[in-house]
Symmetry: C2
Subunit: 136 residues, 2 copies
């Protein structure tokens, strides 16, 4: 006998909210939407090591456009992860340096990076397996 699709859901959505998930004004989303960008993590990793100047970062991440570099740095600065310091040279040079807040964020974040490095083979294997099964 085929079960009805309208079987009872695994759990009601409202119950899940109770278990500590507030959709409106969600802190996790608010914070993560910023560091989840394509370039944010990369820049944070670089700056976690030491301060860098704009051009250095550009050379360090060759396939980032100047536009996105500027924008991502500004976003990170706005959220308080990095400091921007302008030296009154001609032409002016700018140094980006990770703040305390940035370092405290990077601590757990680096664990994810380590996981990524360690489990890259598993992920690649999963992809191959998926693509093969799709092909059929």
């Amino acid at each position: 006998m085929i079960r009805n699709a309208n079987r009872k859901p695994v759990i009601d959505a409202k119950e899940c909210d109770i278990s500590g998930w507030d959709m409106e004004n969600c802190p996790v989303r608010d914070v993560l939407d910023r560091i989840a960008g394509k370039w944010s993590t990369l820049l944070l990793e670089a700056l976690s090591r030491q301060p860098f100047r704009f051009g250095e970062l550009r050379r360090l991440v060759p396939d980032i456009s100047q536009r996105m570099l500027t924008q991502t740095l500004r976003d990170l600065q706005r959220d308080g992860y990095i400091d921007r310091k302008v030296f009154p040279t001609k032409p002016p040079s700018v140094e980006y340096r990770m703040t305390e807040l940035g370092h405290s964020l990077f601590e757990p974040l680096s664990k994810v990076l380590q996981w990524a490095e360690a489990n890259h083979p598993s992920v690649k294997a999963a992809r191959v397996k998926y693509d093969e099964s799709e092909l059929a």
Copy 2:
């Protein structure tokens, strides 16, 4: 005396490569580009608790479009973080369940989520401060 902007860079990009950063075939980028999406983390958090069906996830994350839900789930499945199980009901029902790999990823990832929740006030404060200084 004003320093020349052509002062020696803090460090040469090549040196940074030596300290363990391979730009081509970078595992960190390859893995993170997937979980860095706007929705991935949200779905992983939900599925880390328990399996959910498509419609349940849609109701749980109300502002995701069906299109992006489908696509994100497929990406997560392809990378081996979740399993997709179809029940031959009419209409068919589909259950998404986190794999072992997914759980092992979520362990460090949840630390970042916790950080986000804990430090949300600091981030919001930083934004206010930044916006005020920009306003001037």
